[in-house]
Amino acid sequence: MENLVLTRIDDRLIHGQVMTAWIKNKHAEQVVVVDDTTAKDEYMVEVLETAIPEDIAIGIFTKEEGAQFFSQGLDAPTILLVKGPGAILALVESGIDVGEVDVGGMGARQDRSQLYKNISISPDENSQLKQLLEHGLKVFIQVMPQDKPINIAEYLR
C-alpha cells in the first residue's frame, strides 16, 4: 500500500527503538496502532497519545477500525504497529495490503519460546506467521534499521 512505510510486530508498541530510530529512518508522519485491548483501554490510549512526539499523528484502532482505516488508503508516510501476527492476519484477511512484515519485538512469555535472539513466539503465533507466509507476504526479523533483515521462514517450526 502506498505510504505504508513499515508494518511492524512489536509487543511494546511505541518505545525507544520506534521513537529514536524507525520514525526517523522511515520519515514517518503517522503511527497507527492496531490492537483490540489497547484501543479499548482509555488509559493506554492516553499514554500512547501523549508519549509520541508532537509532530507525529497517531491512531489507535481495533482490528475492525484498522481495516476500515487502511481500506481508504494513506495520505502520509505511516508506520503500522501491532502486538502480534494475529492482527496483521486479520487485516490481510480483510483485504488490506500490508506489504512486508517486520518482526521487531516479541518478548519472552510463559507461552512463548525463543525463536531468534530476543524474539520469542507461541505455537499460535507460529501458525499465524506461517499463514502470513502462505498469503505470500515477506516476513522478516529486523529489530533496528541498521540490522540485516533475517528471513523468518527458516526459523518457524
Binding site: H15, G16, I52, A57
Partner: protein
Amino acid sequence: MVISALLVALLATMGQWWFFGPITKCLVYPLTTGTLVGLFMGDPMTGMLAGANIQLIYLGWISAGGTMPSNTIVAGIFGTAMVILSGADPALASTFAIPFSMLGLLLNQVYMTVNAVWVHQADRLLDRGNIRGVRIMNFLPSFCMAALLYGVPSFLLVMSGSDWAQSLIAAVPDKVISALQVVGGIMPALGIAMLLNYLGKPKLIPWFFGGFFLVAYSGLDLTAVSIFSAIIAIILYLRGENSEQGAKKAVKRLTVDKKVSTVEVSTPATPAAAPQLEYTKKLSKPTLIKTWLWTTSTEACYNYERLQALGIANLMITPVRALYDSPERQAEELKKYMVFYNSEVFTVGPIINGISCSMEEARANGADVTPEDINVARTGLMGPVAGIGDTVMQGILYPILFGIGCSMALSGSYLGPILSFLIFEALIFGCGYFMFMTGYNQGKSSLIHILKDGTINRIINAFSIVGLMVVGAMAASRVTVNTPLQFTVGNGATSLQSVFDSLAPGLIPLGITMLVWWMLKKKVNTAWIIIAIFAIGIAGYFLGILGYAG
C-alpha cells in the same frame, strides 16, 4: 603494572556488568573510560585525549531496547589502552577503537545470550522460595561473565606491556601514520552527523549553521557556544511556558475516517485523589528510598531472553518483603516480575517502579489489584517510557553533555570528563528519584500528568536547539582537516586553503560533515561510512588533497 592491569580489568568488567547504573552507565562513554584508563596506566592526559577522540565518533549513537550499535565500552577502554601502550598520537585513537568496537559487539552478544541462563536459575530458586538466591543470581554470575569476557582480555592487554605495541607503531611507515591522522581528523564528522541527523528537524537546522559559523569566524570555544545556546534555549523554553499554546500538549489524533484532528490535552487542575482505602500496611519512606536505590541495578543481569526481568524482580524484593511477612507469600508475589521487561530504567523509568510499589501496596491492603493488573500496567508503560527516556537522555542530553566534555578535554582540561560525569550523576539521581516518588505517590495517573504537562516536549525542543548549536560548533572545531594543495597563479604559489578561507572559514569540515550527513540520510550503513572515511582520509592524504589540522 599488575595494579594498572587489575584496575583496567575491573573498569572493563564494570563497563559491561551494569550493577550500578549511575556509575556503570557512565562507563559506556569513552570520555569517562579513557580518562580512567589513563589514570590507571599513569598517563591521564593521553588517556583523556584518546578517550575524547574515541567519544566523538560515537556521539550520536543510541542503544535502544537491548540493542547495541557499537560497543563503546570496549572501544573506549581497549582503544585508550592501546594508545597509551604504543605511545601513539591520541589522534590515532579512532583507528584502534573501531576494530575493538566491532569485536566488542561479539562479546556483548555472548554476554547477553549466556545471561539468560541465570534468569532460568532464578526462576527455579523462586519456586523454592529462595529470595536471597534471586538477589545473588542478579549479580554474581553476570559479574563472572563480564570479568571473563571483558576483564581478562583487558588485563592481558595491559600486562602484555608496551614493547610490542611500540614496535608495531614503529613498523608502520610515517606516511601511513600521517594518513591515519587525517582519518582521525575526519572521523568526528560521523558522530557529529549522527547527532545532526537525529536532532535536525528541518525548521531547527539553521541553529546548526549558526553554531558552526559562530565558531568558524570567531574562534569561540565550545563552552562559550554552550553558554550562549543555553541562554537561547532557556528564553525559548520560558516563552513556550508562558504562551497559551506551548503550555498544552498537542496530540494529532487520527480518526477511523482518516481525518487528522489536533487536540490539545491539558492537565486537569488537581491531580487525581489518592485511593481512599484505609491502609494498614504502608511502605515507609526508608523502604521506598531503598527500592529506588535498587533500581540502579536493573540491568545487572541484562540478557536477550527477558532483558531486565531479573533486575526488576530483585528491586521489588525490598517492598514485597516490607508488605508480606511469610517468605512463601513473598516469593509468590515476586514471581510476576520474572517476565520480559525492558525500559529506560534510570531517569524516566523509575516512575514505573514507583507505580508498581503503589499497586503492590494497594494489593497487600486488600484492594482488588491482581498480579495481571500490575503487569498490564508495567508492560503497557515500559515502551512509551523508554521512548521518552531514550529520546530525551540518550538522544539529546547525554550527547550534548559528553560533546561539551570532549571539547573541554581536547583543549587539555580535566574539567571536561569531571563536569560531564557530575552532571550525568545529577541527572540520573535527580530525575530517577523524582520519577520514582511521583510514580509511587500518584500511581497510574502520574505518567499522564507528566506527559500532558508539556514540559518534556519543551525540554526536547529547547535542548534540540542547544544540541544543534553545539554540534555545529563541534563540526567547526573538531573536524580537523584542511587541504595542503597549492597551485601557481602568475608568479606565486597560492594555497587552495587560503582561497577557501577567503570565501568562508571551515568549508572543508563543513563539507565533510554535510557529506556524512547526506550518507546517513541515504540510509548508508554506518560500517560503510566508516570504511568511506578511511578511504577518503587515506586517499586524500596520499593524493596531497587533505591534511591533518589538529
